[in-house]
């Protein structure tokens, strides 16, 4: 049988998927979780959980044309919040990757370069993004730049460190083989260091996009006019709890989406690894 194409292939994979226990286990886990949430907040109104909006309240408002507490999928504002955050993440993630990956590659590749830079990185890295907030506000004007700066900072460290470790992880034999075959230093960099570090780089990028969301939201809570973090803290200030929960759940879903995107790009770039995994499955 030849490989089906287009929609046929989609149905084929879907069918295959449905034949495994995975979707059913996921559904069961999800419903159990929602049921517990409902039981605590709405069913039993157990202790202080009663003050938290339960799943029914949240979902009704989330999908209502005319929501009680102002935020739903029919409100333009909702999308402005999502868009503001996504745009900031995109910018921050691109800067962090564009700077962090080359930085990490060179740190791993050149001992001298690492000696120059690594101590600085190690000192700056443990400082949490929240501690940077005042400095960021002093350094940059407006709402946008400080927020992006904070998100960039956090993911930059993760990306750089992971990339560097990725270079460290490359087996000495590959360098030797490349040297034996007569590669120049730069050829070794492009043909061994970069591809060899890719698996670690993409692990790093997946973590870094998550970290970018953490610090973005923290930053938006302190300084901002729009964005999911702002929505959450603003709703709390105004004592409207439903948009707060909607904001949190949206954040989770969008964050998951970005992480899936990074993973997919990584898979495309590392076919040689995907095939290995496919073989192990067999």
């Amino acid at each position: 049988m030849s490989k089906p194409t287009g929609l046929a292939y989609f149905w084929y994979t879907l069918e295959q998927r449905m034949a495994t226990p995975t979707p059913y286990l996921t559904m069961f886990g999800l419903s159990l979780w929602i049921f517990t949430y409902w039981l605590l907040c709405e069913g039993l109104e157990f202790w202080r959980f009663g003050k938290i909006p339960g799943p029914v309240t949240v979902l009704t408002d989330w999908f209502a044309r005319d929501p009680f507490q102002g935020i739903s999928i029919f409100k333009e504002e909702y999308y402005i919040h999502i868009w503001s955050s996504c745009r900031r993440i995109a910018i921050a993630f691109c800067i962090a990757t564009g700077v962090g990956v080359p930085l990490g590659l060179f740190m791993g590749w050149s001992k001298a370069f690492r000696d120059y830079t690594f101590p600085i990185l190690e000192v700056l890295r443990p400082i949490p993004p929240l501690a940077w907030v005042p400095l960021a506000i002093l350094m940059f004007s407006g709402f946008e730049t400080p927020v992006i700066f904070l998100a960039t900072l956090a993911s930059l460290f993760v990306t750089t460190l992971n990339t560097m470790l990725g270079v460290d992880s490359i087996d000495e034999e590959y360098f030797r083989a490349a040297g034996c075959l007569g590669s120049s230093k730069w050829q070794i960099f492009t043909n061994v260091v970069v591809p060899g570090a890719l698996p670690f780089i993409f692990t790093g990028l997946q973590i870094s996009v998550g970290v970018a969301w953490f610090s973005l939201v923290a930053a938006e809570m302190v300084s901002g006019d729009y964005g999911l973090g702002y929505l959450i803290v603003d709703s709390f200030m105004n004592n409207v709890t439903v948009p707060m929960v909607i904001g949190m759940l949206t954040l989770g879903l969008v964050g998951w989406g970005t992480s899936v995107m990074v993973r997919q790009v990584g898979r495309q770039l590392m076919q040689w690894q995907v095939k290995e995994l496919a073989q192990q499955d067999r």
Partner: protein
Amino acid sequence: MTDAGPANMAASEGIDFGAGQSRMELKNVSKGYGEEWEFDQVLGNLSLEVEAGMLTVVVGPSGCGKSTLVNLIAGFETPDTGTILLDGSEVTGPGKERMVVFQETALMPWQTTYENIVFGPKLRGDYQGGNLEAEAVKLIEKVGLADFKDKYPLQLSGGMQRRAELARALINEPRIMIMDEPFRGLDAMSRELMQEFFLKIFEENRRTQIFVTSEIDEAIFLADRLVVLSNKPAEVRTVIDIDLPRPRDFKMMSSPEAYRYKSEAMEILHEEAMKSFSDSASASGFMEVYAKTGD
């Protein structure tokens, strides 16, 4: 691998097969590691001549410094004293005229078989033998990987990986090949097949070879000349010329000559291994028992 004709003729007529091949010489080479107060002398004053067009097999007790020897010959490391000469010129760093086939596979996992094989000539941009792509494909067919040309190394079996690696080395037309326990970790069957395959390729044009192994049967089956190293610090303990006819066949391994070579080499290896064994204090108790039962 292209001039198979004259080499075969030479072999059958018993003339010098070293004509046009390279020769390597190690003069009083020593190498050690570590700080002064815990210095570990791995090679001590090792002198060795690798004759042109010969398959020289180096065996030694495990941990005697065979890999260090390979690293020095390949140019990954430099000797503390002494010189290594290839056709009279000193070895100073890694180079394509001395190809190493490594213990564990060192094919780039992110390159397909084909990409791996053309990697060296493509980077250097110095391929002389006409169309590189055609030549690579020919070589891939020769090592029996035609169906695996566009597969990644991780999709190949252990034996296939070794063959791909052999092809990657051969396409560079090195003057000398250095095989560092290349068939270690293969199962017995693949190992035997690989040995036969390796010999077939060698016997085609008798490119000078250094083959390092710790398997005595493998050593005798392959070798023109067997170099037995001593215990650490390693020196050449004995050189045994293996006069088994070529092309070799596994049946020859059960011949009386092969048996004689084996016991000769085994005796020396055993002696050396015992020395290293008794060097460690923890083994002394066992040594006494062994000495008693050995009598």
